[in-house]
């Protein structure tokens, strides 16, 4: 039961990460993320900063949006993109998770080698 829960959680988390990494694997999309880190911007303004057609640029915007890295809001004829920082934190999260695993592993090793009952064995 416990194992099952952990594995399904890991699978879910892993699928989310795969989507995020795919979204971040493209230089244009990373540049959009960097640009939005400075604040929201309209699709028109963003597109003007990249040497490609608007339809090509919109594909990148949709990939970022479908993976939850950005949100877009339409107001009148202007579509504004906003960075979703929580989602970006998930990408950072894998390293924190690995750190936690190694810290806890070292805690257990320390308890094991300093326990007088264990060292007699």
């Amino acid at each position: 039961m416990l194992q099952h829960e952990i594995l399904s959680h890991v699978a879910q988390y892993s699928a989310q990460l795969d989507g995020l990494f795919v979204a971040l694997a493209d230089p244009t999309r990373r540049a959009v993320i960097r640009r939005l880190g400075r604040g929201p911007a309209s699709v028109g303004d963003l597109a003007g900063e990249f040497p490609m057609t608007l339809p090509s640029f919109m594909k990148h915007v949709r990939t970022l949006e479908s993976n939850g890295l950005i949100r877009t809001v339409k107001s009148g004829r202007v579509r504004t993109c906003v960075l979703n920082r929580e989602r970006l934190a998930l990408v950072d999260g894998w390293l924190a998770e690995q750190r936690r695993i190694w810290e806890e592993r070292t805690d257990r090793l320390e308890r094991f080698v300093t326990d007088p009952k264990e060292s007699r064995q």
Partner: protein
């Protein structure tokens, strides 16, 4: 160390290097601390030498053991250093483990209070994993399209 990819930790442990070395290299000892209780660990292979196998399994009920670590030792300096990686498995086959392949380096050195215990874990680049998967995806997609085209052509010929 690359800050976004790697982690390091350092601790002074009140035990000798010999005791720590045996906790890492004796299967019956490694099993006692390698995974968090109540999960049980079984060491399948612990061939502590460069190129040697490092294989552990996990169990919740003590009956069914599922795969855990399948890795390979890169460097083993008696009582001083252990380096292993899961980027190649115990049969030396390149792998792509989740979330990312890593190399762990464990270093032991003397300290007045016991042992200065250090770990550096170096991780692969997330973008490299993605590039690999995209390549796999496009190859699979190409094959799929090819089959579809062949099917369409054979049907058109009828």
């Amino acid at each position: 160390m690359i800050p976004d990819l790697d982690l390091s930790l350092e601790r002074v442990i009140r035990a000798s290097r010999t005791t720590l070395w045996s906790a890492w290299t004796d299967p019956s000892r490694l099993e006692r601390w390698w995974v968090p209780a109540p999960t049980l660990c079984r060491v399948d292979r612990l061939d502590v030498r460069p190129g040697g196998a490092f294989v552990t399994r996990l169990s919740d009920d003590g009956v069914v053991f599922v795969p855990h670590v399948d890795a390979c030792f890169l460097v083993v300096d008696e009582l001083e250093r252990i380096v292993f990686t899961n980027a190649i498995d115990s049969a030396w086959r390149p792998t792509n483990p989740a979330p990312l392949p890593m190399t762990a380096e464990i270093t032991l050195s003397d300290h007045p209070d016991g042992t200065d215990y250090r770990i550096v874990v170096r991780h692969g680049d997330p973008a490299a994993r993605v590039r690999h998967e995209e390549l796999g995806f496009s190859t699979g997609w190409g094959r799929c399209t090819e089959q579809l085209a062949r099917l369409a052509e054979s049907e058109a010929a009828l």
